[in-house]
Symmetry: C2
Subunit: 234 residues, 2 copies
DNA sequence: AAATGGAGTTGATATAAATCAATCCATAAA
DNA sequence: TTTATGGATTGATTTATATCAACTCCATTT
């Protein structure tokens, strides 16, 4: 990787998160001095649940999954994260322990920024601070929605939610290569991998999606939304 | 209710939320001017999901439930809230719509504080701003735990979680009068009211709790924790 | 080329939990 | 006192979903 000069790096900081645009050059400088980069291969752990929370993760390239590790081997994947936003763990601001595990789904470049610094800057710059609050709220909202899905819907609805999430929030296309295994799709939708296969077939029969092993095509998003909306107890 | 002078009211603001202690007299004054009180009877709606989010709710007396309304009639109760903390809705900082409904469980006195003002003060005072961030993180952590419980545990584990939550976080006693119906306990644990009754009996047979209609006694919290820890897929 | 192993798939079975139905309260209203 | 009314309770039944077992289809190793 080629060495960059400061102004180049400052530009790249803003590309990590729009909210960095609120900071002064001096403040950005401060961040640069207190951050470091690392690369990860698929499957590698970037942040481990339970470990001390000393820094916030920014993804400069690649895709990661953010999940809770249950005892046993069943995980609950809360969301995926791509470049452009930080991965905020609620533990950062309270217990100072990570409450979530983050691992690379594809080859990933990550930027760790010291939590201390972010907090200090948050105190110095109210727009920046507001940006953190908004991002945290966004991520909390996502968890709320996941809870609503898991607690209130049947398999088809939950899987529909996951597919819509992938297509609208992550890949931003109707057709995409799902990098996740059926088991992982199951961990996003709280269902067994076998059921993912079966329900995926059902959705295909209804003409909502088309799947070809790792490729997924959303043929009819409205149909998916309709399936997502039908609750068990009607 | 007797009229209070300003200094009395400022003291009472701090009792609504410790975090107000970070503010100057002038800032507290500002809050007083932009807040108003209201009383609610059991069952009355304090904040309605979907409505414009213009203010943050502080409870000065009573108990409320905070929940997501599903289509149909099944709700998901995220948590209860008693005096001492604000009810932060993630929608406050993003969509400006409430994503949650808040209703009174017992007779409740509430203080509405304008979101605008809180945001302004958050920009002026970094300790205060950090307090908001911490509180939001706390509430997000709670939702995460609820998700883990609902997605990963069987009925007994989920109900145990709810009982521990009530005893440790809300009533702070081993013995308390549950103001909620069996149906509502079910909405906290994602199970049907009939199942609440059955599993409650199981827990009683195991000597973990004792129930007498509305009274609940936690006889053995460790036993409850043990039940909470056993996952389905061991 | 053979062998290994893992993901994906399919069908059969087991099980947790919801739903349904009936009954039993307690409290409030007439 | 009788009559409603709604929550709580109990048992029977149904249903959604997990689990188990077997098999296919790759990709990788030997």
């Amino acid at each position: 990787m080629k060495k960059k000069n400061d102004s180049e790096e400052i530009v790249s900081l803003v590309s990590l998160w729009n909210n960095f645009g609120h900071l002064t050059a001096a403040q950005l400088e401060m961040i640069l001095k207190n951050s470091y980069n690392a690369g990860f291969r698929p499957g590698e752990v970037i942040v481990k649940q339970g470990s001390p929370a000393s820094s916030v993760v920014f993804i400069s390239d690649g895709l990661v999954k953010v999940y809770m590790e249950g005892s046993g081997e069943k995980n609950i994947i809360l969301r995926l994260a791509a470049p452009g936003k930080p991965v905020l763990d609620p533990g950062l601001f309270i217990s100072r322990r990570n409450t979530l595990t983050v691992t690379a789904v594809s080859r990933t470049e990550v930027n760790f920024v010291s939590t201390e610094i972010l907090q200090r800057l948050s105190g110095e710059n109210s727009s920046f601070s507001m940006g953190i609050l908004k991002e945290l709220s966004q991520q909390m909202f996502l968890v709320q929605n996941k809870l609503a899905s898991v607690a209130g819907k049947r398999m088809a609805g939950r899987l529909a939610d996951t597919l819509l999430y992938l297509s609208e929030d992550i890949f931003k296309k109707n057709e995409f290569d799902i990098v996740l295994s059926r088991k992982e799709i199951g961990e996003m939708s709280n269902m067994a991998k076998e059921c993912v296969v079966r329900v995926l077939n059902e959705l295909e029969e209804e003409g909502a999606v088309k799947t070809d092993s790792s490729r997924i095509i959303i043929l009819n998003p409205d149909k998916l939304r309709e399936i997502s909306d039908q609750t068990s107890w009607m």
